[in-house]
Amino acid sequence: MTVFLAIGALAAAAPRKVMELSGVNPGRCMQCGTCTSVCPMVEAMDVTVRQTMLLLQHGRAEELAAARTGAVCAACHNCEVRCPRGIEIPRLMEALRLLELRKNRDLVDPRAIPRERLAALPPIAMVAAFRELTA
């Protein structure tokens, strides 16, 4: 994905709601990309974690809403423990998920799970997935 950013637009532009929900300031990110390199789900992401941090810094709400980054995040906290700036990135991911979920939009369709798969899934998988990915 190519995104054109205005020069000098950094920091304060981060969507206010994401900062409120997460309590985290993405402006502290220095774009080193460690988060992306340690993310177990990165191959399933259309926009990487580092790119998401940049979009947050530039307040690109539209691109952020279109991206699946938060929806694909597994909340494993690997990025957080490795981040050289100590940024609690999983909180930002949760905020991005909640922006969608609180519009009563699901990020997964429970009815689309095949019945035979459902029978083999442990309760913990369903509780966790529906907590994180459904409104």
Partner: protein, 298 residues
Amino acid sequence: MKICYYPGCTLKATAQNLEDAGLAALAVLGIAVEELPRWNCCGAVFSLATDDVLHQIAPTRILIRAQEAGAGQLVTLCAQCYNTLARANLLARTDAEKRETLNRFMTEEPDYRGEVEVVHYLQLLRDQLGWNGLAARVRRPLAGLKVAPYYGCTLLRPAEVNIDAGRAGGPPAILRDFLAALGATPVDFPLATECCSAYQVIGSPAASLARAQTVVAAAVAAGADALVLSCPLCDHNLGRQQLSFPATNGGPPRLPVLYFSQLLALALGIDAAGCGLDRNVPGTRALLAERNLVPVAV
């Protein structure tokens, strides 16, 4: 000090082997724990949003039940329950504003300020017996069994709830020490502390299956006979998902997956029913027979 035990939903369903083996082992080791007389789901994931206090009620109620029962510690076998409860407990200890909101909301409950200590079963073994103490109780050393410890996320992250915090900065060793005490050969592998894809087995099933192949292949490449873990979600993703690995050209490598409590029960000489090995997917029988470690029948 009284210790209460919190099972969690999955240990009464697909992960009965995690619980059966763990409780049978504690009985043999003489460590008394009491299951909470009444409990609810912990919520499985810890809420990260600043305004979401509602989802802290479920884990906090569990902690209140433990306090009510007079427990100093609450122990879990499930890594994910450990994580959720330990973080909710930390919130009760450190976030005065949210603690106040929670206590005011649950007017029928006594106030809770994080008095109970949440521990994972591995910490209980380490702190009550010590690894030498555990080794002295082993009746059937797991000699020749090469086991890759898989921590996943929830035993270690975030740093505030790391069960091996004493080693902060270095790689965790609690599972390696545990396996060594049982007489097994621990096999370190590079993905031991990485995620299995967790609940994304539902959200992003293709990525989850690919993840399982990567993790299992890394353990096989390191020379492991089996993978050992403590989370029913990891067990599903890395174990049962092997049934869905592609079969072309023999498919990616596979290997048996066991709960740490099952290896503990096996090493303590507990019988087949207590070890719960029949519930493991993929099966472990061939491997254990090869290593002469099949538990005695009941």
